[in-house]
């Protein structure tokens, strides 16, 4: 057997994953979208990226410049959508590089030609919402918030789930019993009510939401990890490791954990999509992120309130469905790739 034929189980799983074209392309597209959204300021921003004005170069994206710099009358922050300012910074030798979509998530276009909410126009490609904010910008930033939130929630939930599941499954006995009862009590707390109460008592913020959802998000995974640990800890290689004199931490880290991660990895995309949905629905109900934060749920709620402004609900819905579909395809492909009954053929 050639040395090149030696592939670790995870590498073989990765190859199986790559053979699933739908899942693989979903992963590529999703990663591209996430990376793009991380640079959303370059794509969609009401401030120009670079301005050359009367021999000087400005970077309004990272600088706060008063209007007086560009020949305006007031010492207030420049509104680069103002036709006068536009005129000023593009006149003669002056030039400006605008972002692809010249609106930020909170930008109100005071100079819009149609009333709010405005249908898609040449200025606002996907139209505006009922406060006159550009929908495309909202969607880009909303997608970013959703994905980053989901990533964080998934990461925290996964780590908590693995740690608690590992402790229960590996040590078993009384530890297991105690944790199981605790999970039963904890899991029977009314999560939504707690969220409403906290949203009323404390000022809403993304961090608070993350903490609250994390408090309840680890239990499902913990059960799976526990079951895997219970199964794996009595396999002979763990016994052999104990006979070898390895410590509990070494056995868990080197032997049991790597062989117990299949459900964790399989569930990652599904947990992500669940997290996105959770954030969206909380925002839709008005219990989520603070007002002003770009959010898909808030857009959906606007779409509901302005049912004739079809472009709001339609485009938000499309973004949401597309994101969740990508995640689901990835999840399916992962599940197939990690299925122990699947052979390499």
């Amino acid at each position: 057997m050639a040395a090149t034929a030696s592939l670790s189980p995870s590498r073989r799983a990765w190859q199986r994953f790559r053979r699933n074209r739908l899942g693989y392309w979903s992963l590529l597209i999703f990663c591209t979208l996430v990376v793009l959204s991380l640079f959303a300021e370059l794509l969609s921003n009401d401030r120009p990226l670079v301005v050359r004005y009367e021999g000087k170069t400005y970077f309004p994206m990272v600088q706060d410049l008063p209007e007086t710099v560009f020949g305006g009358d007031f010492d207030t922050a420049t509104d680069y959508l103002d036709p006068f300012i536009r005129e000023q910074i593009t006149r003669g030798d002056n030039w400006a590089v605008y972002a692809l979509n010249p609106y930020g998530p909170k930008t109100l276009n005071y100079f819009a030609r149609s009333p709010n909410p405005s249908a898609p126009t040449a200025d606002n490609w996907l139209g505006t919402d009922d406060r006159g904010r550009d929908l495309l910008a909202q969607l880009i930033y909303g997608f970013r918030v959703s994905v980053l939130f989901a990533l964080a929630l998934t990461a925290i939930g996964t780590v908590l789930g693995i740690v608690t599941g590992a402790i229960q499954g590996y040590f078993g006995g009384r530890t297991d019993l105690f944790f199981q009862r605790f999970i039963e009590i904890w899991g029977s707390m009314p999560e939504l009510y707690l969220l409403i109460i906290f949203a009323a008592v404390l000022s809403p913020s993304v961090g608070l939401l993350l903490v609250l959802l994390s408090l309840f998000g680890w239990m499902g995974l913990s059960d799976y990890v526990r079951a895997e640990f219970l199964r794996n800890r009595q396999l002979d290689y763990v016994r052999a490791a104990r006979a070898m004199g390895l410590s509990h931490a070494q056995i868990i880290w080197r032997h049991v954990l790597p062989n117990s991660l299949t459900p964790v990895v399989t569930f990652l995309p599904f947990r992500m999509s669940a997290a996105i949905l959770a954030l969206t629905s909380l925002d839709f109900l008005g219990l989520g992120v603070p007002p002003g934060t770009p959010s898909l749920g808030e857009l959906l709620s606007q779409g509901k309130n302005n049912i004739d402004a079809w472009w709001i609900s339609l485009s938000t819905f499309a973004v949401l469905v597309f994101t969740l579909l990508l995640l689901t395809f990835m999840g399916d492909a992962l599940r197939d790739a990690l299925d122990p009954r699947k052979q390499d053929t």
């Binding site: 057997m1 040395a3 034929a5 030696s6 592939l7 670790s8 189980p9 995870s10 396999l235 002979d236 290689y237 016994r239 052999a240 490791a241 104990r242 006979a243 070898m244 004199g245 390895l246 410590s247 070494q250 080197r254 032997h255 790597p258 062989n259 053929t345």
Partner: protein
């Protein structure tokens, strides 16, 4: 006379790769043919593909059952043949029976389907069948669920089910492999009796030559999908023609150990006094809410293992022999005293002391597939012991030691470096290679005692012989002591100096291995020895 089943040029392939290459054999009415081969030789696939019971297989050739070609039948016609003219008994009766129905219902289903009996008549026939298979209290057993029966009883139920349709041919796929040794003989006798009464033919698939000798009229030997030899059992066993058959017949374990009597002054390296191991078990009913019962897996065991010698522990499943092994490894809490080289388990005061003790006693388990972590490379698996017990070694030295250990167990030739092996994963190794890896992992920390928990029972006979040879050689070279747990009398005969016979947690007989096997005093030991010949 035309044979009952005439198989010609049978070919079976998966995904374009042939695993059975044009084999031909025939079974006459009432004949007992044994299909023998090691795992992967294609014997089960050949037999089951006759009824198209193998998924995704491409089957070629012809198989005429009473003149009808089974392979040309439609799925619908074949369904009539399955269980009607041809019945199958599988290896593992627990998974072959539906856990949600009583065994009586399952047998009755066959009777109603295949013989069209009304439910009242079926019930009577079920009892008749169960009586014929020799199950005690057949009326009560008919109402039992599969999990309430013992392994032997389940296999009897499977036989009853197979016989329900009065088949002309019975395919028995390793019918005794999942059973205890003492039951195997009974099960074969039962099959023989029933075969004679019903005048049916039997196709026995097995790897066990003892079974073939006792049971079959004719034997067909398979190797790598080829049928290499067939003929009358007496003829083939007496004068094997093909090299593989000869090797198979010569694969009985050979005794090759230092026979000199143990020196009386040398203190034993492992000594157990009044060793007891128990598990907590839930009690039924309300009592179970407040306290737990205790199941004594090992009771009052005394033994001593001298340096350089092998103590065999023999018994069937549930006799407590594996529990004894885990206790000797210090992995189970126990009562009584268990001493390894002057130190008793549990008396070590520091972690370092415990670790030093662990180094003395290492283990090789039965199942080479679960005893190696699937996500570690050979180098990591074998080298792990060094990380614990010789942390001062750097990576290069450790690799050198790993290679040395691989050479010791015969995976590497003396001049080879480890490049072909170190980065492999367990799934790339055969069962025998995995077992050698497990031995290398144990040897690398230079233990003085190896606990061998059924080290060869998951291996093919020829590989089994090689592994036993390896163990014998290592014992000679290094003066290792073995605590050998097995259910196989042949392995004891080949390896052990002394033997303990265990039953239901109690040591019922002990003594020098060869003496005990030659003249067993306890009736149970006699039964064990008789079953193995």
């Amino acid at each position: 006379m035309t044979p009952l089943l005439d198989v010609r040029d049978l070919e079976v392939g998966f995904n374009g790769r042939a695993v059975v290459h044009r084999i031909s054999f025939a079974i006459a009415e009432g004949e007992k043919l044994a299909l023998v081969g090691e795992s992967g030789s294609g014997k089960t696939v050949s037999a089951l593909s006759l009824l198209r019971l193998v998924q995704n297989a491409r089957v070629g050739g012809s198989a005429r059952l009473q003149g009808r070609d089974l392979l040309a039948l439609s799925e619908r016609e074949l369904r009539g043949v399955r269980g009607d003219h041809v019945a199958v008994i599988f290896q593992e009766p627990m998974t072959a029976l539906n856990p949600l129905y009583t065994v009586g219902e399952q047998i009755a289903e066959v009777l109603q389907l295949k013989r069209g009996l009304a439910s009242e008549a079926a019930r009577a026939a079920v009892l008749e069948l169960l009586v014929a298979t020799g199950i005690p209290e057949p009326e009560r057993r008919a109402g039992a669920y599969p999990h309430q029966l013992s392994g032997g009883q389940r296999q009897r139920v499977m036989i009853a089910m197979a016989l329900a349709s009065r088949p002309r041919l019975l395919i028995a796929d390793e019918p005794t492999t999942a059973l205890d040794v003492s039951l195997r003989g009974q099960m074969l006798d039962l099959l023989s009796d029933l075969q004679r009464q019903h005048g049916m033919a039997v196709l026995l698939i097995t790897h066990d030559l003892n079974l073939v000798r006792r049971f079959a009229d004719r034997v067909a030997v398979m190797e790598h999908g080829h049928l290499v030899e067939q003929g009358a059992v007496t003829e083939v066993f007496a004068r094997p023609q093909h090299a593989y058959t000869r090797r198979l017949l010569a694969s009985r374990p050979v005794r090759d150990v230092i026979e000199a009597p143990a020196e009386p002054d040398v203190p034993p390296i492992v000594q157990a006094d009044h060793l007891g191991v128990g598990y907590p078990v839930p009690l039924p009913g309300l009592r179970g809410w407040f306290r737990r019962g205790r199941f004594e897996a090992v009771r009052d065991a005394n033994f001593a293992l001298a340096p350089g010698r092998t103590l065999g522990v023999i018994g069937e499943s549930g006799s407590g022999k594996s529990t004894l092994a885990l206790a000797a490894l210090g992995l189970l809490p126990h009562t009584g005293r268990l001493q390894v080289d002057d130190t008793t388990w549990g008396s070590a005061r520091s972690q370092a002391q415990t670790r030093a003790l662990r180094r003395q006693v290492q283990v090789v388990f039965q199942d080479p597939f679960s005893s190696l972590s699937p996500r570690m490379t050979v180098e990591q698996i074998v080298g792990e012991g060094l990380q614990v017990h010789a942390p001062e070694l750097d990576a290069a030295n450790r690799r050198e030691r790993v290679c040395a250990a691989l050479r010791d167990v015969g995976l590497l030739a003396a001049h080879e470096d480890g490049s072909g092996w170190l980065q492999r994963y367990p799934h790339e190794c055969s069962g025998g290679q995995r077992q050698r890896l497990a031995i290398a992992r144990a040897l690398i920390v230079e233990p003085r005692v190896l606990v061998l928990d059924e080290p060869t029972s998951a291996l093919d006979v020829t590989v089994q012989q090689q592994v036993l040879r390896l163990l014998q050689g290592l014992q000679r070279q290094r003066g290792l002591s073995y605590l050998l747990i097995t259910h196989d009398v042949d392995v004891i005969r080949a390896m052990a100096h002394d033997v303990l016979v265990m039953r239901e947690g109690v040591v019922i007989e002990r003594g020098p291995a060869l003496d005990v096997l030659a003249a067993p005093t306890h009736p149970y030991t006699r039964e064990l020895v008789a079953a193995a010949t």
